[in-house]
Amino acid sequence: MRLLLVLVKLLPLTVIKKVINKIFEGLLMFSSTITTLTVLLIVLFLFKEGISVFKESPLEGENVIVLSNQNKVSHLTSVEVKKIFDQETTNWKFVGGANDSILLFTFNDLSNYFSEEELGPAFEFLPNKMDSLIEANPGIIAVFSKKYLDKNHKSKVATIDNISPKTFLLGKEWFPTANPAVQLGVLPLILGTLYVSIVAILIALPIGLATAIYIAEVAHPKIRAIYKPVIELLAGIPSVVYGFFGLIVIVPLIQKTFNLPVGETGLAGAIILAIMALPTIITVTEDALRNTPRSMKEASLALGATQWQTIYKVVIPYSASGISAAAILGIGRAIGETMAVLMVTGNAAVMPHSLLEPLRTIPATIAAELGEAPANGIHYKALFGLGCILFIITMIINIWVETISKRRVNR
């Protein structure tokens, strides 16, 4: 301690100051570096997991699909597999084979064909039996675990494509736990997200714009002093509460108004999202409106323009870029929102045809399904893939806002 004091006395003050400055500089640099690295790591993790879905076969577990050698078909897509096992496709001619009806075989059907003695106590005769069964039935399609495949099998194993980016993005069916082949088409989810968000913005933008104009330009300062904090409070309400409100108030209202079997619809989601996006839209728009230089407004008023003429001829054009930024930010808020949407949209992962039907968004899907998806399974990876898509959408939105705001600064 004494040594330190002596040291301090010996060193000139400027040196100590320099050292302290250096330490602070180091701390600042450290925290910003850590933050940046964390963000990059999260993105890296997301994409690493998400992209690995494309290395996966859509067949569950170690399963294989086995066909008779007499069957012309040797390649099936995951959609075809699903249709066959859903008995939507019942004849091989629909998937490029001969005119022969399809015979399904899974292990549930095992006892219909063989007795327990035939298979042996540890199923040791099963592979051989299966192979002959399949060879005997040209129309059969069998799905079972790879380990029961005979080593010298005469039957053929059908090849099935891995999940490709194209089927992932453009596939119209989302059945991540379907048996035997999962269906990972995210188009209904992407469209669901976009539908709900865009309708939400179409509802929120006019209301938000009107409110912002009122608060920024028209309202008496006393009214403004009440309205503005209340609107900002809207941004602080937890989204679960919005969801709850939607479920209790908006959903029954929609059900009654449109006379629907269920009120949990895209429209309910859009309305809730509109309410949630309002504070963002209002605050950003109002800031933009208030940024109109006083001199511009005075110039207009001094020329005999009325207050309304000044607002729509000077104030709104002047803050146009800020208003568009507000709209896009609002969309961004809506696209990323999870909880409230999960609660009110009904969560049916089908192609959305109308807003009065249940639909499902990307974030809601991730939140609802991640808990049930086995780690590192194909479902799990597909959810990460969804996360990547969401990330890309919001990033595009952010870049868009950035360019618009820059344009505003440059003017």
């Binding site: 001199s295 110039a299 001829k313 000077v314």
Partner: protein, 250 residues
Amino acid sequence: MYKIESKNVNLHYGSFHALKGINMAIEKNTVTALIGPSGCGKSTFLRLFNRMNDLIDGVKIEGSCIIDGKEIYSKSIKIDELRKRVGMVFQKPNPFPKTIFENVAYGLRVNGITHKNYIEERVEICLKQAALWDEVKDKLKKSAMALSGGQQQRLCIARALAIEPSVLLMDEPASALDPISTAKIEELIYQLKELYTIIIVTHNMQQAGRVSDSTAFFYLGELVEFDTTKKIFTNPTDVRTQNYITGRFG
């Protein structure tokens, strides 16, 4: 009859007494200069006549302001109608981020004039009056923001003239400009006097001396002295006026 009169005008910004019982009468087609140190109330006084002070929260105005024999603060006066008769040019050039043409046409358009030929005619006349026509006639569709500061200010004058006011208020119109642009503006004021009654706030003594017929000296919210410019600059009555114009404070 006087063109503009103020009778015992008091103005408060909240608790600040900015104008103290101002009485002034201004003749038609004259230039009146308002001088005085910063914060003396001369700009506030100027902005009384197109009711620009109304835009500020917490302003209280007492007394009477009369233009063409009519009380402009009476309830029956429409503010936008008043502002069409009383044009204003601000201290900093403030063209709209629109084209040169649209800047001048703005006042006409907000007054509901849609006749294209008439608007074009008025734009040309006003730009000529503001001595800007020759410089911009080939680029009327270009943005006004691309003009120099002096040109922008003359554009603002043209813009104010377009709606044919009878009074022109100028709030230090040349303070942000270089000497050549200033000279052009002053020349312009001299010519505009034929058609308009002009009140100009200025910090520049020489400018007041050059352009104005009468001069009013404001100090701490009071009108200290109001007389012909010649009298104010050669033989002021009040010692404060004398001190100010000789540069002893200000």
